[in-house]
């Protein structure tokens, strides 16, 4: 089964080369999809191995696929598939000269994330995480506008600095391992409970590493790069970054947490992660209240969900399966939403919420999946985020962290209300009230967006499109097109809807993966 460890690294790399060299646009554009399929396929292979109690290793144990790694690899592949496949409809406005590098970088990005989750060596894991920054830097700056350049600069500076802090932490952990006689960065070795590691060093190293990786995970106060980068990157890239890159960073935090918990007990990181998680929820809540840009809205929602996952990680063992399920649910949902947001941005020409109105009437083809995905995102059943949140909250009270979870619930409510308000603002309304799509974004001042006067019709009376005032710029014929492939989005939403109800093998896999981290004795 060890070959399955090679696939997610080698095939995307090869495909990246291919898309750089190939002259066929079709081949080039399909290569990221193929990379995702490769990652997903090997992920599923490794999952089956993990379920059969095998732990494939490679390169002298440098790469290792336990249940957790296999699961994360599958998530990377699945979210990658949704983002890249769903992004196929995305029209690149960039000169063809750069198109090859775009597709190649996505493949490299996927390979880097795969490496990050497969590496048993935390140093290698760090290098892979840093490599994701490098791969995505140009993807964020892909549009080559001043804004995307700004986002890319912030992303690289803040991201690299953050990850550098993580490196400092890893260095300290390494230093601690020297004290035991055999210097190692192998997670497997370090997480053994009986290793005489120096507690002070591990404490500092763990704290710094978590702080560093928290930057990539988008946890406040290290989150500042995230809204800019996610809102400026092309939609599929945003989907990948938000859906899995954050999760991969969280994965790194979870691995580090296992090491520190074994040495200094769970309390220290528990406080740190709780503070980070709650702060993230707070930041997300505060900035969603008056949010004006729907891609930034999604970005802040990612911060919120990462905050919730961090709270789950803080709770520890009992909440870990819920956190892991959360990773999958959030990844798929957020990828779907980012893909959709890209399409809305493309057809409406503006990322301003005020400028996008009455979507449900004008463009049901986009609004309906958007609404379903939003329902999944804000935690309605049957979508799995519901189960994850409930699981985390119940576990939180059981673990005696009722206060933390209680504060989280208050913030979640604010976020819920804000997200609902913004979504309703985008989707509901009569078409006549919508701002014409042709208006340049800069011209649509938030307060000046026409709200129009719709004749008040009482309940029960018929409301037809003809009731609304016709607007010269808006076609009254609803646009039912999905503006891109629909199947990946349907698959993603269907998966999140049913996955929580599959006890076998998903339940077993989650349990095993949590066991890897010391959860569920």
């Amino acid at each position: 089964m060890s070959f399955a460890l090679w696939i997610p690294l080698a095939i995307p790399a090869l495909l990246a080369l291919l898309s750089l060299l190939s002259r066929s646009p079709a081949l080039r554009r399909l290569s990221p999809v193929a990379s995702s399929v490769a990652v997903l396929g090997s992920g599923l292979l490794l999952v089956s191995a993990a379920l059969a109690d095998q732990v494939p290793t490679l390169g002298g144990g440098l790469l290792r696929a336990d249940a957790l790694s296999a699961y994360m690899l599958t998530v990377v592949g699945a979210v990658g598939l949704v983002s890249t496949w769903g992004g196929l409809g995305h029209d690149s406005t960039v000169p063809a000269r750069f198109a090859g590098s775009y597709d190649a970088l996505i493949s490299v990005f996927l390979a880097a994330m795969s490496l990050a989750v497969l590496a048993d060596n935390i140093g290698l894991m760090w290098a892979a995480v840093e490599a994701t920054t490098i791969a995505t830097a140009f993807l964020v700056g892909h549009h080559r506008t001043p804004r995307s350049l700004e986002a890319a600069w912030k992303y690289v500076i803040l991201g690299s600095v953050g990850v550098a802090i993580a490196l400092l932490g890893i260095v300290l952990i390494y230093a601690a391992s020297r004290g035991t006689g055999a210097a190692t960065l192998s997670w497997l070795v370090l997480s053994q409970a009986d290793l005489p590691l120096d507690p002070a060093l591990i404490r500092a190293g763990g704290a710094l590493a978590v702080l560093g990786f928290a930057t990539k995970a988008g946890l406040a106060p290290m989150h500042s790069w995230l809204p800019d980068a996610h809102s400026q990157a092309p939609a599929p890239v945003s989907g990948l970054m938000s859906g899995v890159l954050l999760a991969v960073a969280l994965y790194a935090i979870l691995r580090i947490q296992t090491i520190t918990d074994a040495v200094i007990g769970p309390d220290f990181l528990r406080i740190m992660l709780s503070v980070g998680g709650l702060l993230s929820l707070f930041v997300a809540a505060a900035l969603l209240i008056r949010q004006r840009d729907f891609k930034r809205m999604l970005a802040y929602s990612s911060i919120e969900h990462m905050g919730m996952m961090a709270v789950g990680a803080a709770i520890g063992a009992a909440a870990l399966p819920a956190v892991l399920l959360y990773v999958l649910g959030h990844g798929l949902t957020k990828a779907t939403l980012f893909v959709l947001s890209g399409r809305i941005l493309e057809v409406e020409g503006t990322p301003k919420i005020d400028a996008v109105r009455a979507l449900l009437v004008r463009r049901p083809g986009l609004a309906v999946p958007w609404l379903i995905a939003m329902a999944a995102l804000i935690g309605f059943p049957p979508f799995s985020i519901f189960f994850s949140e409930v699981g985390i909250i119940v576990a939180g009270f059981s673990a005696g962290m009722g206060a933390v979870v209680g504060i989280a619930l208050v913030l979640l409510l604010v976020i819920f209300a804000s997200l609902t308000r913004l979504t309703v603002a985008m989707t509901i309304g009569a078409p006549g009230a919508a701002a014409p799509a042709a208006v340049a974004p800069a011209a649509v001042a938030p307060a000046a967006a026409p709200t129009g006067v719709v004749p008040v019709v009482d309940a029960g009376a018929s409301v037809t499109l003809a009731d609304a005032e016709p607007h010269p710029d808006v076609p009254l014929v609803p646009d039912r097109s999905a503006h891109g492939p629909m199947l990946p989005l349907i698959l993603a939403l269907a998966t999140t809807a049913v996955v929580a109800f599959i006890a076998e093998p998903v339940g077993t896999l989650l349990t095993r993966a949590a066991e890897v981290l010391g959860g569920i004795q």
Binding site: E150, W153, K154, L158, G162, I165, A200, L208, L211, T215, S224, W225, D228, A286, L287, I289, R290, A322, L325, A358, L360, V361, L371, A375, F380, P381, F387, S388, V390, I393, V394, F397, S398, G402, V405, G406, L409, V410, L413, F416, A417, T420, V424, A425, T427, I428, G429, V454, A459, G460, A461, S462, V463, A500, F501, I502, A503, G507, L510, A514
Partner: protein, 672 residues
């Protein structure tokens, strides 16, 4: 597989069919096909609930990927009772929807969500553990939200109603979630059986109780969590409003019952006092707002708050009396609360369906523009009238019996064998009686106004004049509902026995049937047989009728287009009393609570200051709770939201400083 399991499976199957029907049927047929499936789904709920109520057993387990305690659906008697109630309303609403749904309310989304909504509601009472409960609770919320969304899709003006609804629903959900999680954390398991082992006198139980009361109270539209009701229900079509206000609120009551009967029975006295306060305030506030409302649906919506307030008042009294060892009265109060819930479901759904019929016929919900519908829509008028009697708790409707039982339990509660049980009870009970009495009085006014202004006298607008009776398919649920209102009122005995059995085995109220179908609550010496009552009234009617007929034969009635009419000759419909003017004396009396804003605009003729051309008076009564409690909080949040933008002002230096400070803090903390 037991019959109960088959019933639950049947519901899920019918849900799938209903969803498929909603998605696949072409528009002209959709309402009929989907509505039929929804009706069947609800009917399956009635059957399942009845099976559970009669002691049937069976369980369905739901697989889950998370290592939670097993998710099991297995309704007990209480759950069965609630399931029957909710599903019955579902049947009425679905039947009505077949006829009434048009355009937006007949869209795919609308019917699909209706099925999801109904199924969610019907299965909440079947849950036997926290997660299943929350799962179906949220499915119910999702269904209702989507249902409203489907109706509001094209109407930007009502978007805020949707936001209010979903935010308030989520608030309730979070309260319930936190409360249950608190209990589960204490009990070490999420099954209701585990939760029932908790000592109700522990502080955790009290915190959980407060959270759950807020959560379930929110669903039951209690003050101060009712603010969504007057926004949402008026905008929803009749059958949706009926399902929400007639059925969904009962889930809130069920939650409270679950806590007070199953999970934490025999709680401390202050729980009871608190519930009574919340219930009493809700009842008074709800009925006050209802009595001054001019929009028929707003009136009905606020009346729900009132009725649920009374239900909770009964529940609270039951807890308080039980803590004071007045067991018989406590049991009676519990039975009364359940009877109130039953009767409310019957009359409120009928009223909302009636309002839907009026909306369809007259296109108008403003009472000030209705009138004279009684002769134009006799079926609707009769059904609405019967249900209004129920809402006003007049004999011999179900509402009357329930309120009678509640009052009986209250006045017998504070003394056991001539001894005062506690000072708390002896203060609380009289106040509760006063609150109920005032509520009942105001309810009387409210429903006299609603029925009298809408259905009697003369039309106040051309639309009302042109109104015609609704089609047969919509009359059926109306009549069924009205029959339920009266029927439940005539059969309090068997009903009380069934309800009393449902709260067992924890509690065993000593109620039995007496006479034909009368109720005899032995513990509190209260007997009532509505049938005998009706017979007596009938007997008294005989001589009156004889006199009437004798007189009528000799002196037949004359009709005159211009009767005395106060001596005037230009009697126009506009000169009639309107709903607003009807409530005017009341508004004055309760000026301090309602704080109406009046706007009088006088247009003078030409230059003269003395001759008036027209006077425009506008009076609006806003929801005080909303303007005084929610507005400030929301404004504060908006301001905070604007302020928070500064944190993300685009300066990379600021962002780097955040990281830098975090790093320094972590360094300092780790070296402490």
């Amino acid at each position: 597989m037991t019959a109960l399991e088959a019933g639950m499976l049947g519901q899920t199957l019918l849900l799938v069919l209903a969803v498929a029907a909603a998605l696949l049927t072409p528009t002209p047929w959709r309402s009929r096909v989907s509505g039929t499936f929804c009706t069947l789904l609800a009917a399956a709920g009635i059957v399942t609930g009845a099976l559970a109520l009669s002691g049937g057993t069976g369980s369905l387990s739901i697989p889950t990927a998370l290592p939670l305690d097993p998710l099991v659906l297995s309704p007990d008697r209480l759950g069965g009772l609630v399931m029957v109630v909710v599903s019955s309303v579902g049947v009425l609403a679905s039947l009505f929807g077949i006829g009434s749904a048009r355009v937006a309310s007949a869209s795919r989304t609308a019917w699909l969500s209706m099925a999801v909504f109904l199924c969610g509601m019907q299965l909440v009472p079947a849950a036997t553990d926290v997660v299943t409960f929350l799962l179906f609770w949220e499915i119910m919320t999702l269904g209702s939200t989507a249902l409203l969304l489907a109706h509001h899709a094209t109407r930007g003006t009502v978007a805020s109603a949707l936001v209010w609804y979903s935010a308030m629903s989520q608030l309730s959900f979070f309260f319930v979630l936190a409360g249950f999680a608190m209990l589960a954390g204490q009990a070490g398991g999420t099954g209701f059986a585990d939760l029932a082992t908790i000592d109700p006198y522990s502080w955790q139980a009290s915190v959980a109780f407060l959270l759950l009361l807020l959560g379930f109270g929110g669903k039951a539209e209690l003050v101060p969590l009712h603010v969504w009701v007057p926004r949402v229900l008026p905008e929803a079509p009749g059958h949706v409003a009926a399902a929400m206000s007639g059925a969904m609120v009962n889930i809130g009551v069920y939650g409270a019952l679950l806590v007070l009967v199953r999970l934490l029975p025999n709680g401390p006295a202050w729980w009871g006092v608190l519930i009574m306060v919340v219930g009493g305030v809700s009842a008074l506030y709800g009925i006050l707002q209802a009595s001054v409302a001019s929009n028929l649906k707003v009136l009905l919506a606020y009346s729900t708050t009132e009725n649920m307030g009374l239900v909770f008042l009964g529940l609270g009294a039951s807890v308080l009396l039980r803590a004071d060892n007045a067991t018989a009265a406590a049991d009676a109060a519990l039975v009364a609360a359940l009877l109130l819930m039953l009767s409310h479901a019957a009359f409120k759904s009928t009223l909302f369906l009636g309002a839907g019929a009026v909306a369809r016929a007259a296109g108008e919900m403003n009472l000030d523009r209705l009138g004279g519908l009684g002769s134009r829509m006799p079926w609707t008028a009769a059904a609405f009238g019967a249900a209004a009697m129920g809402a006003a708790a007049l004999p011999v409707t179900s509402g009357f019996v329930a309120e009678w039982m509640l009052l009986q339990s209250l006045i017998h509660g504070s003394r056991v064998d001539g001894e005062v049980v506690s000072v708390t009870a002896s203060v609380a009970m009289p106040l509760a009686v006063a609150v109920i009495a005032l509520t009942a009085g105001l309810a009387l006014l409210t429903f006299v106004k609603a029925y009298g202004i809408a259905f009697l006298a003369r039309p106040r607008s051309p639309e009302a004049k042109l109104a015609v009776e609704v089609p047969v398919i919509m009359r059926i649920p109306l009549v069924l509902g009205a029959l339920l209102v009266v029927g439940l009122g005539l059969l309090p005995g068997p009903l009380a026995v069934a309800v009393g059995g449902a709260v067992g085995p924890e509690f065993t109220p000593d109620v039995r049937t007496i006479g034909l179908a009368g109720v005899d609550a032995r513990g509190i010496d209260a007997v009532l047989d509505p049938t005998t009552f009706v017979v007596l009234a009938g007997l008294l009617l005989v001589p009156v009728l004889i006199a009437l007929f004798v007189s009528a034969r000799r002196h037949p009635t004359r009709t005159s287009p211009l009767p005395w009419a106060g001596g005037g000759s230009r009697l126009r419909p506009r000169m009639q009393y309107t709903a607003t003017s009807y409530a005017e004396p009341l508004v004055r009396v309760f000026d301090d609570v309602l704080r109406p804003s009046r706007d009088v605009e006088v247009t003078h003729v030409g230059e003269s200051r003395y001759l008036v051309e027209r006077v425009h008076v506008e009076q609006t009564v806003s929801d005080v709770v909303e303007t005084r409690l929610y507005r400030p909080v929301l404004n504060l949040m908006q301001r905070a939201g604007i302020l928070a933008r500064r944190a993300q002002n685009g300066s990379i230096h600021r962002y780097l400083s955040y990281s830098f400070v975090a790093l320094l803090l972590v360094l300092i903390v780790v070296s402490l």
